[in-house]
Amino acid sequence: MIELGRQAILIAWLIAAYTIVMALAAAWTRRRDFTASAENGVLAVWGAVLVAVAVLLHALVTRDFRIEYVAAYSSSTLPIYYTIAALWGGQKGSLLFWALILTSISSIVVLQNKQRNRELMPWVIVALMSVSLFFISLLFFITPPFETLAVPAREGRDLNPLLQNYWMTIHPPSLYLGFVGMSVPFAFAFAALATGKLDSSWIRTTRRWTLFAWFFLSLGNLFGALWAYEVLGWGGYWAWDPVENAAFMPWLTGTAFLHSVMIQEKKNMLKVWNMVLIILTFALTIFGTFLTRSGVISSVHSFTQSGLGPFFLYFLALVLVVSLGLLFLRLPMLRSENELDSLVSRESTFLFNNLILVGIAFAVFWGTMFPVISEAVRGVKITVGPPFFNKVNAPLGLILLFLMGVGPVIAWRRATWAHLKRTFAGPVITGLVAGALCFIGGIRNYWAIVSFSLIFFVLATIFAEFYRGVRARQAMVGDSVFRALSQLIAKNRRRYGGYIIHVGIVMIFVAITGTSIFRIEKQVTLNQGESFEIGGYELRYNGLEERDTLHIAYLMANMSVFVDGRQVDTLRPEKRFYKKPEQPTTEVAIRSTLGSDLYLVLGSYDAETRMATILAYLNPLIGFLYWGGITLALGTFVVILPTAATAPAASYVPARGDATETRS
């Protein structure tokens, strides 16, 4: 079996190399059989990688400790779902898993485009297979996942306890899907540049893929934040750790891309900018992988560290040189067909939104790389902490929030004063009233007041959009309110799904505002039976409880939670002692309500006196992080799901079939 896995990787490498050559030949000669062979090559590589993954999974599940990877990342007592998740728990396995996702996506792209984009496909294959070849090369030459131990281990060293958490089963896959998914729009952009077929067709073709990748990137980031929240035990969910930043930067540029392509589709503007954004986004996914795996910058995410850094850097340089070089060559063909008419218009608002998103990405990049930069320039490694990021990004984030209210509603081309008054009077008043209410309610933090005002401003613009749309439809078609609303969404799912996503993002802003400004933190040492108070809760410490299993020993502090003298809950913050890697971890206990989270950590304890130190946090409004994520997912489904036969897009779809039908 092990041999099969090894040879599968070799076969994948050989076929991938062949496929790139064949696709280049196909691009050169335009011969159909060359393209067909290259397309089969993509499928064959996928098959070979799939075999390798199956072999590794089999080895994990059957606890084949002859294999170094299996012995390093699992053990005989590891539950089955974490054993499967161990596939992406370490460097080698995660690279293999990455290759699987990439080749799967490439295969789907090939199958989707058997009849479409024929001119682009050879180049698309060149791009996708080059990325695949890079990852497969790492697997073959540098970090072979099927390396065996000289002496088979009797027991595995087990998966890192921090990874033995249910988020582990979904955070890495969704992040990888997001990272890898961005290769598709990049590959088509590359193909458009290479062929000179530079109209918006590459954007239209990859719209769903971009959304798909963006969606999983969003979820991956959120899942990662929630994981950190539940596992790392410092009361927060985002610390501007290099690895968080690594996943956040492509999200920012990807979000900018998602918005600016609309302007290209509608107005044939920003063509070069879109190319730059997608190249940048793809490069940042590679850069993010480099950050997490090189160990250049120390991070909470050290499980996947290795000496792979330089290879990623070379590859990144290659990607940038080739794609930016091509872009430079094609610049004359990418002239904008329209110009900005006015600074107060939708086009310019979108442009501002782009600048802000890229600005935030740059600030994050700068802060993340500062230790390296400062070391290179001044010889001292200076790390900038969360204060830097918060200071720079808070105002930018608020501007972004403001633009989110303005952008989708403002008139195209040139907004008149009358239009502005009509559209924004209501939302502005709503925002001001919300701000005033915050002030009256006793909030004196001006960041919070501004943030909540803007949040209500944006929500009001979105509500007004739906309201006006429904009214307009009713006037045009004469439907009932409910039918008008559902038809409104069905007729332009892109626009209204987008609004739903915006509501999700606004909710995330609510959570960020609440937790970053109004968080309460307390550290107390208690004797059995003593209690303390935090944010309206009274907590009584009842003593320590113990539990032991084969895999883990638990020690829990039993805490009774009272509100107004009535017991509402019992929380048990834990210490866990994992037995295989002999490592203690801290498991937090959380009581969630819509208003806030009560978050308890067992800091330290004295086994004899039974005294315990409890860290308690009250995180206001953090529940909106979950709900925002769910709303965002819902909105994305509205935008992305294939159109039903009755929906209007069916009549917009370029009627290729019809065209040929009428001709023949």
């Binding site: 076969i11 060359f34 075999v51 065209a659």
Partner: protein, 128 residues
């Protein structure tokens, strides 16, 4: 089983699968045709222009476009759509005879454009 045997056993079917089109694909020397792409981009241009008109109408109704701008925009998009339709028209007549299924809209009597799914006069589908 030796590693070479495993390699060959795996590589052989893969190579056959990948090389197959080179030797057995009938039209081995066929060149990927370009005009198809042109047709596609014309179609797309037409559809994009028509969609833009529709969206402009809606934007005007919800007050996002002034009447002047609306008139100017629709005039421009109409011109674009007509241009694309005319080009498509020409291509389809030059490449082969028009299909001749429906010449006039059964609803309002406007002359139907070849290849059009909907009547340019009243918007009803041209085929039942």
């Amino acid at each position: 089983m030796s590693s070479t045997a495993v390699l060959l056993a795996g590589l052989l079917p893969a190579v056959v699968f990948v090389m197959w089109p080179l030797f057995f694909s009938g039209d081995s020397d066929a060149i990927e045709a370009l005009p198809e792409d042109d047709d596609e981009s014309l179609q797309r241009k037409k559809v994009a222009a028509l969609a833009a008109i529709k969206e402009a109408e809606f934007d005007q109704r919800t007050g996002k476009l002034s009447d002047d701008d609306f008139a100017a925009l629709t005039a421009r998009y109409k011109a674009q759509a007509l241009e694309a339709i005319a080009a498509l028209d020409q291509r389809s007549t030059s490449s082969s005879a028009p299909s001749g299924t429906i010449k006039f809209c059964p609803n309002c009597g406007t002359k139907a454009l070849p290849g059009g799914k909907f009547c340019s006069g009243c918007g009803r589908p041209t085929r039942a």
